[in-house]
Point group: C2
Chain length 123, copies 2
DNA sequence: CGGGATCCATACTGATACTG
DNA sequence: CAGTATCAGTATGGATCCCG
């Protein structure tokens, strides 16, 4: 038996003409794999978090990039923003259904990276 | 029974103090999820490819970023570079064992993105 | 063919100040 | 608390030319 009996993911992707510059996939890919996008999505995988919690949790992020990245993810429908109009104000961020779905595919990758990072950087 | 009986990926990550600025995971994450890193890894998932093939396959990449990203991935031990000293010279790139392992975790994510990109960008 | 070197544009960051 | 606005510095990516 040959190994070419089933269509690879890459072949599927290319067959659809995806991953070209003009393709929506590239936009989504850029958002999802952006420097801070991945981290925010992962940190939201467990529970909803408040703005200040996220700022403290995601080490090194500037307030500007936190706001900007959250807005992008919200626009993409991956993250839900819930405002509670109290004093002081409270804003919670959580994953949407779409976001949860995405993060399911993201976590195995993160886990692998955490497990193998030392092997890679050590070189 | 409660839902907290098993440790989530995020909890594992945080317990190890991973994902902080100084952590190797962040370096690897930046390389792997870099704008072009993901695409090159995915395109190499099927077979080894030559420099020129990659340049044509990865739509929009500049020669500089192709060279730079390939060098980073090679240093990380994810991509193997094989030079054949002919005239004209021939250079083939392929995934290492480590790279193959990584891409296995990357492909489900890519597949999801390709399948859902239209829902996301349409907003 | 497979790059390296150079220069320029943009994106990101950091610090600070201000608001509802 | 949860942002927005602005400015300045830096890092990153892109375009072009050149070379073995």
């Amino acid at each position: 038996m040959t190994v070419s009996s089933q269509v690879s993911v890459l072949q599927r992707i290319q067959a659809e003409g995806a991953l070209t510059t003009s393709c929506p996939t590239r936009t989504v890919l850029d958002h999802v794999t952006s420097k801070w996008g991945v981290l925010l999505l992962v940190f939201l995988s467990d529970k909803s978090m408040r703005w200040g919690e996220l700022r403290r949790a995601v080490d090194g992020i500037s307030e500007k990039m936190l706001a900007q990245t959250l807005r992008t993810l919200e626009t993409d429908g991956l993250v839900h923003r819930e405002v509670t109009a109290t004093v002081p104000p409270r804003v919670d961020y959580s994953l949407t259904e779409l976001g949860t779905d995405l993060v399911e595919r993201l976590l195995p990758l993160m886990e692998w990276i955490v497990d193998n990072a030392d092997d890679i950087v050590g070189r």
